[in-house]
C-alpha cells in the first residue's frame, strides 16, 4: 500500500485532475499551463479552506 500523507494525496489528486482540465480548457500551450496552475491552486485553496471549516467539528 502506498503510504503518503493526506495533504500529499490531495495535492497529487489536484495535480492530476488539473492536467486533465488543462487538456480541455485552453487553446494554446501557454493557456493550458495557466489553466492547470489556476485549477491546481483553486483545488488546494478550497481543500484547505474546507478542512479549516471542518476543524471545530473534528473533536
Amino acid at each position: 500500500m502506498l503510504r503518503i500523507g493526506h495533504v500529499w494525496q490531495m495535492a497529487l489528486f489536484a495535480l492530476l485532475v488539473s492536467i486533465a482540465f488543462a487538456c480541455v480548457g485552453g487553446q494554446s500551450l501557454s493557456q493550458r499551463i495557466k489553466h492547470a496552475i489556476w485549477s491546481f491552486a483553486l483545488f488546494m485553496l478550497i481543500g484547505i479552506g474546507i478542512a479549516w471549516l471542518m476543524y471545530p467539528f473534528s473533536r
Binding site: 500500500m1 494525496q9 492530476l16 485532475v17 492536467i19 486533465a20 487553446q27 500551450l29
Partner: protein
C-alpha cells in the same frame, strides 16, 4: 464567407479518415489514444498521465473497484465511473493483486482516485470525439 459547421466537419474528416466513433472507442480503451491518432500529442500525453496516474495511485492506495453486480445504486454509479478508465479498469485485478482495503482512510481515498480516473478518461473520450467530428479544435 464563413464555412458552415457541416463544411468544417467535412474538412476535418478529410484530414482524419478514422471514424469519430472508433476514435472515441480507442480513447476509452487506452487513455490518450484517441488524441494520439489525431496527432494531438500534448493532449494525448495529458490524458494518459492524468487518467493513468489517478488509476495507478488509486490501486496503490487499495481503493475499491465496483462491478456491475454491485448491490446498491451508488455501487452501480461507481461501476460507471470506474469502467470509464477503460483498460485500467479491466487490469484492476492485476494492478491491485491484494484487493481493496477500505478499513483505512487511504483505501477510501483510493476509491475516489479510481472513480476520478474514469471520469477524467470519459472527458478525454468526449474531447477526442469532438475533435474528430470537427466540433472542437
Amino acid at each position: 464567407m464563413m464555412a458552415s459547421q457541416t463544411q468544417l466537419s467535412q474538412i476535418h474528416r478529410s484530414q482524419n479518415p478514422i471514424d469519430p466513433i472508433y476514435l472515441a472507442l480507442a480513447a476509452w480503451i487506452v487513455p490518450g489514444l484517441g488524441h494520439l491518432l489525431q496527432r494531438r500529442w500534448i493532449r494525448a500525453a495529458g490524458f494518459l498521465i492524468a487518467a493513468g496516474g489517478l488509476a495507478l495511485v488509486g490501486y496503490a492506495l487499495r481503493g475499491e473497484v465496483f462491478t456491475l453486480r454491485s448491490a446498491d445504486p451508488f455501487g452501480k454509479l461507481g461501476f460507471i465511473a470506474d469502467a470509464g478508465s477503460g483498460s485500467f479498469y479491466f487490469l484492476a485485478r492485476f494492478l491491485e493483486p491484494a484487493g481493496a482495503d477500505i478499513s483505512r482512510a487511504a483505501g477510501e481515498y483510493g476509491t475516489r482516485f479510481i472513480a476520478a480516473a474514469g471520469i477524467v478518461n470519459l472527458l478525454g473520450v468526449v474531447d477526442a470525439y469532438g475533435i474528430a467530428a470537427g466540433r472542437r479544435s
